[in-house]
Each structure stands twice: as C-alpha cells, then as structure tokens.
Assembly symmetry: C2
Homo-oligomer: 305 residues x 2
C-alpha cells in the first residue's frame, strides 16, 4: 500500500491582505493527502467532531483518499484562526481551539500498518512516536513539527527525529531548535542529532535539503498572485512524498526531483484560499509547471574561463 | 578592451556581530573591479582624496586593474559607516561622508571610451547618463542604483534604465521602485519601464533574473560563516560581468552561467572583512566552488509519474 499520513483535519479561519476565509476546510493531513493523491494512494489518520460536514469527507473520497482512519468523535472539530500581513511568509495565530484534537490518540486501522510510506504531520511528538510503533516496516518515514513542540517537548521530538528518515521543517523552526542564527549551522546541528535527511522550507525563497554530505537548493516557483499560504508546507510534503511513493526511487536524484514536485504542488496551493486551487487542479497543469520549474533553475556549462 | 566600471572607491567602517573594521578599503568600484579582474581586463573610474594610501592603489594594480581613471583630488575620501545585525541581509547606515564624491564628475580617459563592457555602479543617475554618453559602442551595459536615487531622482533613473542592457538591484529596491509588494510583479513593472533584463539580488536567498519572457533563479551558496556582507552585490556584479567579458557569450545560457559565477564570487567575499578574502582568493577555488554550486542546484528527470 501507499502513503499513510497522520495529522489534523480542521476548520481554518484565515485573513490575508487579499481576502478572508471563514471556517474553511484545513488541517495538515487534509493538505498533505490531497496533494499526495495526485501521485499515489494515500490513507489518512485524523479526528474530527460532530460538526464536520460530510461534503468535506466526500471531497477527500473523491480524491481516492482512504478515510478509514478519520474518526468522528463527540465535540467540535479543531479550529485554527490566523492572519497574514503583506509578508505572506509568516502567519500570525489569532486563536487555536484544539477541541476534539485534545483526545486524539492515533490508532491505525490494521490495513494501514503495512504502509510503505509514512508522514507524521505536525502533532505532539509523543503521538508521532506512538504511530511509529504501530507501523511494521515502512520504507520511508518523514515528519514535520512546529515551534510549540520544539519549546515544550524537545526531548520527545529528538527521539522522533532519530527514528525518521526525513525531517521537514521551516527556517524559523530550524533556528529555534538549535539556537543557531546561521541556517547552514542550524541544519548541521539537526543532522548531528541523528536526523539523516533534513528539508528546510523557506516560503517564497524555496527549499534547502541537507544530508551529512550534500546540500540541495530549490527556489520557490515565482508567482505574481499569492492569496493564501496556509497549507503550503503540507502540500509541499504531500507532493514530495507522493512523488517518492509513485516512483519508489529513493536515490539522491530521485529525492531531489521529489523536492521539485513538492514545490510545484505548493505553488498551486497558495494561488487560492483553503484547498480551492487543489480542488480544480489537473495533472497536466502539474506537468506543465514542472517543466517551467526546470527552465527556471536550469543552467549549463557552455564556456569555462 | 574589456570592462570599464564607474563607481566609488571608499573607506568603510563596518560593524557586524562578528567583528569591526575601521577605515577599511571599500567602495563599489573597488569590489566590482577586484572581482571582475579574476576573469577579464578591467578599468576603473572613481575619485579619492589626498588621504587615500598608495598601498590600496598598489593592490588594485596587483590585480592588473587599470587605474588611469582613478583621480585623486584635494579633500578626503568618501567614507561610509554601517552596521549589520544577525540578519546580515540588510545594512544600517550610521554615517555617510561624501567628501570628494561631491565633486565627482566622471571623465573617461580616451582609452576607456571604446569599452566593450560597461558597469555603472551605484552613483547619481545623472552621472551614470554622462558616462553613457562618453562610451562609443559598448557591447553590454549594466547598472546598479540605490534607494536614495529611487526616491530622489526617479525620472533620471528611468532614463538610465531604458539605455542599459541589464539592471542589477536588490529586492527592497525593486519593491520600492514600483510600489509592488509582490517581487514578481515588481520585476514585471521594471521590465515594463523599458529595462530589457533585470537581476534582483536577494542576499542569502540568491538571485532572480528576469526578461520579458523568462525567469532564472539561482540560490546563494550556503555558507556556515558569513563575516561581512559589505560589497557582496558589487562583487557579484564583477564576477557576472567579468565572466561575460571573458566568454563574450551573451546568450541566455551564457548569461545564466555568468549569474552563477557572480554568485560564487559574492560567496567568497562575505567570508571576511573588506576585500580580505578577495586578496587571498585563487582561481582554482573559484572553479571548485562553481562545481559545488552546480551540485547544489542540479536535479534531473529520472522518472515522471
């Protein structure tokens, strides 16, 4: 089987300089699985409340996402309220209502436990560890986290980092985790903690990927219109893991190409609120943007001084 | 003949979190010509005062830089004092003593007027225009500018932009010039003013290059130690123009490769104060870093979903 993602399915209320979305569909597992579904089978583990409308579940199913692991329990769905200024790189959290998320204890359906690819989206690192223990022989595991866990549960987080193959975090989190201002030093510090491969997201500045002995830099796809960066990181991770699950190529070259597909998916997601762009995205658009991404970064040795 | 650069030769007093440089050698023409001298003949036009020590002139000559256009006049040399915080991307100007720069009226030696390549470093756009009128048939002209001229002489600056082949400015200047927050829109706006090719410098985030119908993104070379960003932009421009003058290849591919050589030169310059790193730089280091720059950005189509 393909990818299993454990994370959140949520309502978001988002304000950007370009508009406002009230109680729109959000959540890390939602963005990740929708993005990954363009490349691979994907199964989702998350919790929602009684207020979560069927239409959203039907949308996930329309993307052939396995929702067996989506449990609906008494109470209200996790609700995040955030705001972006003109610097769309950073969200300001206005309100977080955990609601049913407080009772979230991921319990993978039997059919999920043979997952080849596992993505631990940003949840409590202790829950991430519980999930790791439930999956038998995954071929590749990646995880995300956030500033809250870095400051509140650094030791649990370090144990997770040592167990996964790829850590995907943003620039500020890498600096916070290591107390290093210089991003390259910060990356080396995280690698030194026992993380084999580190992907650092830099918003409109793209992505840096580190191993102990290599660095790869991919720019963000240049966009004239960015409406809503919410979910860009999880959409990136979904495209990245989806591509890897699709090709099965875990060579450095294969992983670099996956980074580019992840970047392409993120570039679509930010073009509209919530998952609206994803809902109307067609695979041929992905292919076309991948091609222009190549021409964006391509240079050749044509003459050496 | 090769490249002519018109700009400043200055004393800098610089403070960074990593140290302090007092009355050190600086100036846009100094950084540019030193960087370009690794690839091409370069001649310099600038003014200094009576206080400018011969050892600095001898250094420029040791790089085979033609200093016929360096005039020494009564008064003191231009002195810039600046400070960087941990965010090394932006300098805070503490003091600017124009001194002899106030009387600077660039007058090109006869032998300079057949220059094939011309770089108009950041000076008054009206002076940039005077220089343009003195050069007979340059093959390629590029220019830089700064926030001060964008706000004080926008019209003169626009006239210069329309006469040059390549404009090289930083991210904040591109946004300021157009009043556009979105960098891609800002770039389109500057292209629309009649600038054929625009290179936008983004510090540690690298470079974006625009034409009416193409975009090229190059990352900055990842460095664990950045001591002093002063002169990085002019060092970039020097490597960029120097490479172009060396190969004579003004195709899109040739210009993209020149961007990478410019980025490589800038990455060395920031490793030490003033021009100290440039003074001990050897060509084989440039070749080696170019190669690792390639592996930093290279990805291949190995499998398409």
């Amino acid at each position: 089987m393909g990818i299993v993602v454990v994370g959140t399915v949520a309502f978001d209320t988002i304000e950007t300089p370009f508009g406002r979305g009230e109680n729109v569909l959000g959540g890390s597992a939602t963005y990740f699985s929708t993005s990954a579904s363009f490349f691979s089978d994907v199964s989702l583990v998350a919790v929602v409340g009684e207020d979560f409308p069927d239409e959203h579940v039907q949308f996930l199913q329309s993307r052939d996402i396995d929702v067996k692991g989506l449990s609906r329990i008494p109470g209200k769905t996790f609700h995040w309220t955030g705001k972006y200024g003109y610097d769309l790189n950073e969200a300001q959290t206005l309100d977080t209502q955990l609601n049913v998320l407080m009772e979230f204890r991921p319990n993978l359906p039997e059919s999920y436990r043979d997952a080849e690819y596992l993505f631990l989206a940003n949840i409590d690192p202790e829950l991430q560890m519980e999930v790791l223990e439930q999956v038998r022989k995954p071929r590749l595991v990646a995880c995300d986290t956030m500033n809250f866990w870095i400051s509140s549960k650094p030791e649990a987080l370090k144990r997770v980092l040592q167990k996964v193959d790829i850590v995907v975090i943003n620039e500020a989190e890498a600096r916070q985790f290591t107390g290093e201002v210089n991003l390259i030093k910060a990356a080396r510090g995280i690698i030194a903690l026992g993380c084999r491969r580190l992907v650092i997201k830099r918003g409109e500045y793209g992505v840096l990927m580190f191993t102990a002995d290599s660095v790869f830099a991919a720019p963000a796809y240049p966009l004239e219109e960015v409406f809503d960066p919410t979910g860009a990181g999880d959409t990136f991770a979904g495209g990245f893991m989806g591509y890897l699950a699709n090709t099965g190529d875990l060579s450095e070259d294969g992983i670099r190409q996956a980074i580019v597909f992840g970047s392409v998916m993120a570039s679509f997601n930010v073009e509209d609120f919530s998952l609206n762009r994803m809902k109307r995205l067609e695979y041929k658009e992905i292919e076309a943007r991948y091609k222009s991404f190549k021409s964006l970064t391509n240079f050749r040795d044509i003459a050496m001084p």
